[in-house]
Amino acid sequence: MRHLLANIVTYSIALLLFIGAVLFARMRSSQYTLTYQSAVLAAYEPTPGGEFRWRQIGAETYTRNCRSCHSADGRGWDEYPGVEGADSIARTAEGRARLIDIHIHGLATDGSPVPMPGMGHLHDVEVAAVLNHIVEEFGTGGSVETFTPEEVRRRRAGGNDSGPGTHPAK
C-alpha cells in the first residue's frame, strides 16, 4: 500500500516537473513576461524631436540580456568576447548597421567557438539603448553618434529581416 502511494507520488511529481517545464518554455518563448514592452515604452516617451533618454533602459537591458555573457564590466569572460570595441565599430555607417544586425539576428563566426544568440524580439528602444550603453560604458571614449530607435527600426525594415527568433547569421 505504502509502496503504491510512493509510485503514485513519483508519477505525479514527474508529471508536475515536465508540465511546469513546458509551461515555462511556452511562456518564455512567447515573450510573455519578457521584453516588458509596456515598461519600456512607459519609461521612454518619444517626443518628436526630443532627445532619446536611453540610460536607464540601456543599463537594464544590458543586465537582463547581455551581462551573463559579456560580464558586468563588458570585458567578457572565457569564450565570450568583450564588447569594449563597440565604440570604434559604431563610428562607420557599415559598423552601425552591423551592430544592429548582430542584435537582431545573432552572430556566429569562426572567431568564437560559441554563437551570440539573436535577440530580434528586443524592442527597437531596447536595442538602441543597449548599444548606446555599451558604447558609452565600455568604449574608449570619444564621441559616437547616439543610436536611436528610429535607426534600429529602419534597419529592421530595410535589412533582410526575417523576424524575431531567427537563427544566428553566418
Binding site: R2, A25, S29, T33, L34, R64, E79, P113, V114, H167
Partner: protein
C-alpha cells in the same frame, strides 16, 4: 501531529519546492526569452537539478519527515525519482544542442568553456551514479564501496551542477538569485556532512554494548545490546535500526536490522541476524562486551501503526524478525487480539525462532501455520510455497477485518499479495516490509 496531516504537509511542501526554480526563473530581471525548445531544455535542467538536490534531503534520515511514510518508502521514491531527474537533466543538453547544433562543440571538454565543462562533469557523475545503482547487484559491487561511491559522486554532481549554473549565469543574473542557488547546493552538501559526520558525533554519546550473541536455528544469530550510560531507545514493534558494530561510529559499514525484542523493554534491544553476506556472517565472531551504535528507530512496518481487531502475519525466512517483536510486545501488553502467523522456511531445522514462538503461543492468541519447502519425513503440515490453497486452508474465517502484514523474500511477497487481493482483501489492509532498501 497526526500522521496523515504531517504526511500531507511534507508532501505539499515538497511539491512546492520542486516548482521553486521555475518560479525563480520568472522573477525579474529575466533574461530575454528565446526559442521554445531552448527554454524547455533550460527549464528541465533547473528542475532536474532541484530534484537531485532534494535527493539529499530524502536520504538524510530526518525521522520527523520520513515517519509519516516510512523511510523504506522514502528510499523507494528516492530511487524512482532519480531516474526522472536524470532524464530531465540529460534532456537539458540534448535540447539545447538540438536548438542550435553549433553548440555541439560544448560537449568537447577542450572546446567548450568552464560552464560547459562543469555541466559535463555533473552529467557524467550522475550517469555513473545511476549506472552503479542499477548494476550493483549484477556486478557484485560490495555494498559499502557502492555506498561510498554513491555519496561521493552525488556530491560531485551537485557541486559541479551548481558551478555550471553560476558560470552560465543566464538565470542567476542577480546576486540574490546566485545566493539562493549556491545556498541550496551548500545546504545539500551540509546534509551529507550532517549524516556522515555530525550524526556519528552525536551517536558517540549513545553507545551500546553487546550483552549476548546467541546462535539460533537456520544460520541466524540473536544479538542483544544494552545502552551504555543512556536511557536506550523506544521503538514501535516491527521497526528497525541501522546497526554498526565498531569501536567508533565513524565506520561506513552499517546495516539495517529489525528489532526482535519487545517494544515494552528499553533496558535491552535484540536483533535477529541471518548470515547472508560478509557482515552478517561475522556474527559468530562478535564478542560480548563489543561496542555498537544504532541509528533508529526507523520504518513504518508496525502493528501499532495499522490498528485492526486482528492480524495475519506472513513471514518468509528471516522476515520473521519484525513479527517476533510484535508478538513479544503483544504478550507483554496482554493484548487479547487474535493473530494468525504463516511462517515459510526451507526446512524444519531452519525455522529460526520456533521455540520462542511456542512459548509465545501460551501468552498470545496465536495460531501458527508452518510452510516448509523441504519438509522432514512424516511432516503433516503445509509444504511447498505459500500459495492460494495454503492461504485458503490457514487463513482465519472469523470475519474480522484483519490487517495483513507481509515480510519475506520479494517473490514470495508479490505472490502472496496478489493471492490476497484475489481473495478480496482490500489493498489498504496489506502492508509489506522489504528487507532491501537499495
Amino acid at each position: 501531529m497526526d500522521r496523515t496531516i504531517s504526511g500531507v504537509f511534507w508532501l505539499l511542501l515538497y511539491s512546492a519546492i520542486v516548482m521553486v526554480p521555475i518560479a525563480l526563473m520568472l522573477v525579474p530581471p529575466v533574461p530575454a526569452g528565446r526559442a521554445f525548445w531552448l527554454e524547455l531544455g533550460v527549464a528541465l535542467g533547473f528542475v532536474g537539478l532541484t530534484q537531485i538536490a532534494l535527493q539529499f534531503v530524502l536520504i538524510a534520515r530526518f525521522r520527523r519527515v520520513t515517519a509519516p511514510y516510512g523511510i523504506d518508502v522514502v528510499l523507494h521514491y528516492h530511487r524512482q525519482i532519480a531516474i526522472v531527474a536524470v532524464a530531465a537533466i540529460l534532456l537539458h543538453p540534448a535540447l539545447i544542442i538540438i536548438a542550435d547544433p553549433a553548440r555541439l562543440r560544448l560537449l568537447n571538454p577542450l572546446g567548450g568553456n568552464w560552464a560547459s565543462r562543469f555541466g559535463l562533469l555533473s552529467v557524467l557523475a550522475l550517469v555513473a551514479t545511476i549506472l552503479m545503482s542499477l548494476l550493483r547487484e549484477r556486478f557484485r559491487l560490495r555494498y559499502e564501496y557502492w555506498r561510498a561511491a554513491h555519496l561521493g559522486l552525488g556530491v560531485v554532481a551537485i557541486v559541479a551542477a551548481q558551478t555550471h549554473v553560476s558560470l552560465a549565469g543566464l538565470y542567476t543574473n542577480t546576486a540574490w538569485k546566485q545566493a539562493i542557488w549556491i545556498g541550496m547546493a551548500a545546504v545539500m552538501v551540509g546534509l551529507v556532512v550532517m549524516l556522515r559526520v555530525l550524526n556519528p558525533i552525536l551517536q558517540r554519546n549513545r553507545a551500546w554494548r553487546v550483552t549476548e550473541v546467541r546462535e539460533e536455528r537456520g544460520d541466524t544469530w540473536s544479538l542483544s545490546l544494552a545502552p551504555v550510560d543512556h536511557d536506550g531507545l523506544r521503538f514501535a514493534p516491527g521497526q528497525f535500526a541501522w546497526v554498526k558494530i565498531a569501536d567508533t561510529p565513524f565506520t561506513i559499514e552499517e546495516h539495517p536490522f529489525s528489532f526482535t525484542s519487545s517494544a515494552e523493554r528499553s533496558d535491552v534491544v535484540v536483533f535477529g541476524i541471518k548470515e547472508l553476506g560478509d557482515f552478517s556472517s561475522r556474527m559468530s565472531r562478535v564478542a560480548v562486551g563489543a561496542t555498537a551504535f544504532l541509528d533508529g528507530p526507523h520504518g513504518a512496518f508496525s502493528m501499532d501503526r495499522y490498528q485492526a481487531p486482528g492480524y495475519v502475519f506472513i513471514a518468509g525466512g528471516v522476515g520473521i524478525t519484525p513479527f517476533l517483536s510484535m508478538l513479544k510486545t503483544m504478550a507483554d501488553r496482554g493484548d487479547p487480539r487474535p493473530v494468525t502467523l504463516i511462517y515459510a522456511d526451507r526446512s524444519w531445522d531452519a525455522v529460526a525462532f520456533r521455540d520462542e514462538l511456542d512459548v509465545l503461543r501460551e501468552r498470545v492468541r496465536l495460531e501458527i501455520t508452518y510452510v516448509l519447502e523441504d519438509p522432514p519425513e512424516g511432516w503433516e503440515g503445509e509444504e511447498g510455497m505459500v500459495t492460494a490453497e495454503v492461504l485458503e486452508r490457514s487463513l482465519p474465517r472469523d470475519g474480522y477485518k484483519r490487517m495483513y502484514l507481509l515480510c519475506g523474500p520479494p517473490p514470495m511477497m508479490d505472490a502472496v499479495q496478489s493471492a490476497l487481493l484475489e481473495r478480496g482483501v482490500p489493498r489498504r489492509h496489506i502492508q509489506l516490509e522489504r528487507f532491501a532498501l537499495v
